[in-house]
Amino acid sequence: MTTEPKKGHVAFVSDCIRWFLAGGLVFKIYLATLLIVMGVGVYAYGRQFQEGLMITGMSDIISWGLYISNFTFFVGVAAAAVMLILPAYVYKDKDFHAVVIIGEGVAVGALVMCLLFITVDMGGPIKLWHMIPGIGLFNWPSSILTWDVLVLSGYLALNGLVPLYILYSYYHEREPVGWKYQPFVFLSIFWAIAIHMVTAFLYQGLPARPFWDNPLLGPRFLASAFAAGPAVIMMVFIAIKEKTNFPIDTNIFFKLKRIIVVAAVINLVMLFSELFKEFYTFTHHSLAAQYLYFGLEGHDSLVPWIWTAIALNVLGTLLFAFDPTKCNPRYLMVAAISLFTGIWIEKGFGLIIPGFVPSPMGEVVDYTPSSLEILITLGVLATGMLVVTLLIKPALVILLRYTERHPEQEKVGS
C-alpha cells in the first residue's frame, strides 16, 4: 500500500485487483481451488453446450433440476442483504452500518450465481437476446419470468452500483454524498422483497403444479431467505473476524443472531402450516408431498434428504435461539452451517423436484443429477464464492484504510 493516494478509475480497479490477490498461502490455495473447480465446471458446461441438456439427469417429467433449485435458493441469499440494510439505514444502527457493504457483496455474489444458474439451465443460451425488448420479444407482464429478469437485473445494478460508489468515494478519501446513494438504498429494501416474491411467484402462479400452488410460497421464501441469507453473512463475518484485522463488533453477531432466530422460527411455523395442509386431508394434490416425505410408488430418493433438512433446520434454529456460548464464533459457525444446509436442501431440490412429481398425468419418476450436472453446479458455486471474495476483500481494505486515515469519522458508511 502506498502512502500517496492515487486517483482515477484505472488506479481504483488495479488497486482492487491487487488487494484481492494479496494474501498468504492458505488464501492462494483457496483461490486456486476455486479456479480449478470453475475450470472443471467450464469444461462440463462445454460438454453440455455441445451435446445438449441430455447430459443432465433431467427429463420431460422433472424438467428443472439442480440448476433451478440452486437458483431459487440463492435468490433468497441475495435478498437477505436487506436484513443488514434495514437496520443500518432505516434504524440507523451504527454497528450494522460498518458491515453493510459485506452483506451487499454477498448479495452480488449470490445474484451472479443466480444468473449463471439460469444461463446454464437454458436449452438455447445463445438465443437469450430474444428476451430483450426492442430487438426481441419480451412477454411482460404476462410471464413471471420476465418480471424475474427485470427485478434481478435491477437488484444487481442497485447492489453493485451503490457499494461501488461508496467504495470509490472512500478510496479517494472522501465521504460518499448521502443524497446520491441513499434513495437507492431505500429502493433496494423494497426491491429485495420484490426479487424474492417474484421468484416465488414463478412457481406460485402454476396451478398445474399443486405442490407449489399455495399462497404461502412467497412469504415462506422470504422467511427462509431471511434465515439462510444472514446465516451465510454470519459465516462471512466469522471468516473475516478470524482471518483478517477488519474489526467486527460482537454486537453485530448478537443482532444478526436475533434476526436469524426470528426468521428461522417463522420459517418453521410456515413449514408446519404446509405439512398440516398436505397431510391432514390427503388429496391427490398432496401426492407430491407424499413423494417428498414418504416416497411414492417405490420412488423415495428424496426422503432421507428432506428429513435431514428438517432436522438441520430445527437444530440450527435451536442452536441460534438458545446460545449458551454468548456468540462464540465456532458455535455460531456450526449453527449457521446447520441452518444454511437445512434450508438449502429444503428450498432447493426439496421444493423444485417434488413440484414435478407426480407428473400432471400421474406418472412418478426419480431424478438423479448426473456427474456433469453436479460439476457445472459446483463450478457456478465456486464462481459465486470467487465473486464474493473479489468484492469483499478490496472493500475491507478500502474501508480499513479510510478509518485508519480518518479516525475522526465515527464509523464508515454513515
Binding site: D60, L145, L161, A208, M361
Partner: protein, 320 residues
C-alpha cells in the same frame, strides 16, 4: 435506440459509475457482445467442409425475427432458407409450407373412450408424421390403460406393452389439448409459443430459448423438450413439413402436438385421427355447425380434463 447501443458498449465500466440509468444499455452491451460471440458459435458449428452458403444461411436464420412479426416475404424467405439448409446439411429435398390458417376455422377434437382399444396406432403414426426423435422415443400422445371405477388418466398405466384390449380395462389417450386459455402461452418469456387464429397452439422453434417454463406450466403434460439432438433415420423423415409443425427440430427447443398443422391446414385429418383403426378420434371445425365434432358435442355427454383449471381446452372425451 439503435445508435445508443454501439456508443455505450465499450464505455460500459465508466458508464456504470457515471450514469445511473444504464441498466438497459448495460444489458444491450452485454447482449450484443453475447450475440456476436454466440453468432460465432452458431456458424462455428458448421464444420470444416461447410460452404460459406451454409454459414450465411445459418447466420441469417439466427438473427431473424419472431415468426409472428415477419412479413409474408420474410416468412417465405425463411422457409426457403430452411429448405436450402435441409438440402445442404442432410441432403434432403423437403417441401416446407408456411400456410396461413383457414378463415373461420377453429379445430376441435373428441376422443371416444368406449371405442379406444389401446392399439396405439395413433402414437406410431404421430411419430412418423411429425419426425419425432426415435432415440428417446418422444411421443406427443400417451395412451393410458385404466381400471374401471375411475375416469382419470392419472390413475392409469401409460407404459403397458401387452396384447390389447385387456378385458375389463379401458383406454384413454392424452396429448396437447390446445387450450384457448393456455397457461403455457402466458408463461413463455419470449412469446415463442402462441395460439394461432385457427386455435392451434404452436411453437416457433427458432425463437424458443429452452427455459422450459411452459413445460412446468402445462397441466396436461402436453409439451416435450429436446434434451439432445433428435435422431430420425433419413429414409423415415417426413419431407412435407410446415414451419410451425413437423420440421426438423434440434436440441434445446420445445415441441408439442400441433394437430398436424401441415395436414390440417390442407383439409386433412391429423395423423392420429387418420390412423386410428377403431374410429375413436373425431376431428373437425368447431365453427361449422354441421361438422362431426359439433355433432359429438351436441349429442354426446362430453367432458374435458381438469376443467377446474379454466384452461378451456379444445379436446373432449365422450362415451358411446
Amino acid at each position: 435506440m439503435d445508435h445508443g447501443k454501439k456508443k455505450n458498449a465499450p464505455l460500459r465500466t465508466a458508464g456504470l459509475l457515471a450514469n445511473k440509468c444504464t441498466r438497459r444499455s448495460f444489458l444491450k452491451g452485454v447482449s450484443i457482445a453475447a450475440a456476436a460471440g454466440s453468432a460465432g458459435l452458431v456458424t462455428g458449428g458448421c464444420g470444416s467442409v461447410a460452404s460459406s452458403e451454409e454459414a450465411k444461411l445459418k447466420w441469417q436464420e439466427f438473427f431473424k425475427k419472431n415468426y409472428r412479426l415477419m412479413t409474408q416475404e420474410e416468412k417465405n424467405a425463411t422457409v426457403e432458407r430452411l429448405e436450402r439448409l435441409a438440402k445442404l446439411q442432410r441432403g434432403l429435398d423437403i417441401q416446407m409450407s408456411n400456410q396461413a390458417p383457414i378463415n373461420n376455422v377453429l379445430y376441435g377434437y373428441a376422443f371416444n373412450v368406449t371405442r379406444c382399444k389401446g392399439y396405439m396406432d395413433c402414437v406410431a403414426a404421430c411419430v412418423k408424421e411429425n419426425n419425432l426423435d426415435r432415440r428417446t422415443k418422444t411421443q406427443y400422445i400417451r395412451i393410458f390403460e385404466l381400471d374401471p371405477g375411475k375416469l382419470d388418466p392419472t390413475s392409469g398405466d401409460g407404459k403397458y406393452f401387452h396384447e390389447v384390449p385387456v378385458q375389463d380395462k379401458f383406454y384413454m389417450g392424452v396429448q396437447c389439448f390446445h387450450c384457448e386459455n393456455a397457461p403455457c402461452i402466458r408463461a413463455c418469456p419470449t412469446k415463442a409459443t402462441w395460439r394461432e387464429p385457427d386455435g392451434i397452439v404452436v411453437v416457433d422453434y427458432d425463437w424458443c430459448i429452452g427455459c422450459r417454463y411452459c413445460l412446468a406450466a402445462c397441466p396436461y403434460w402436453g409439451r416435450r423438450f429436446n434434451w439432445g439432438n433428435p435422431v430420425v433415420p433419413k429414409e423415415e423423415i417426413n419431407t412435407k413439413q410446415h414451419y410451425l409443425g413437423n420440421r426438423m427440430r434440434w436440441k434445446g427447443v420445445m415441441e408439442k402436438c400441433t394437430f398436424c398443422i401441415q395436414r390440417t391446414r390442407q383439409g386433412k385429418l391429423p395423423a392420429c385421427a387418420d390412423a386410428c383403426p377403431t374410429g375413436s378420434r373425431v376431428f373437425g371445425n368447431l365453427l361449422d355447425p354441421d361438422s362431426e365434432i359439433r355433432f359429438v358435442l351436441q349429442n354426446k355427454k362430453v367432458f374435458r380434463f381438469k376443467e377446474d383449471l379454466n384452461t378451456d381446452p379444445k379436446f373432449w372425451y365422450f362415451m358411446d
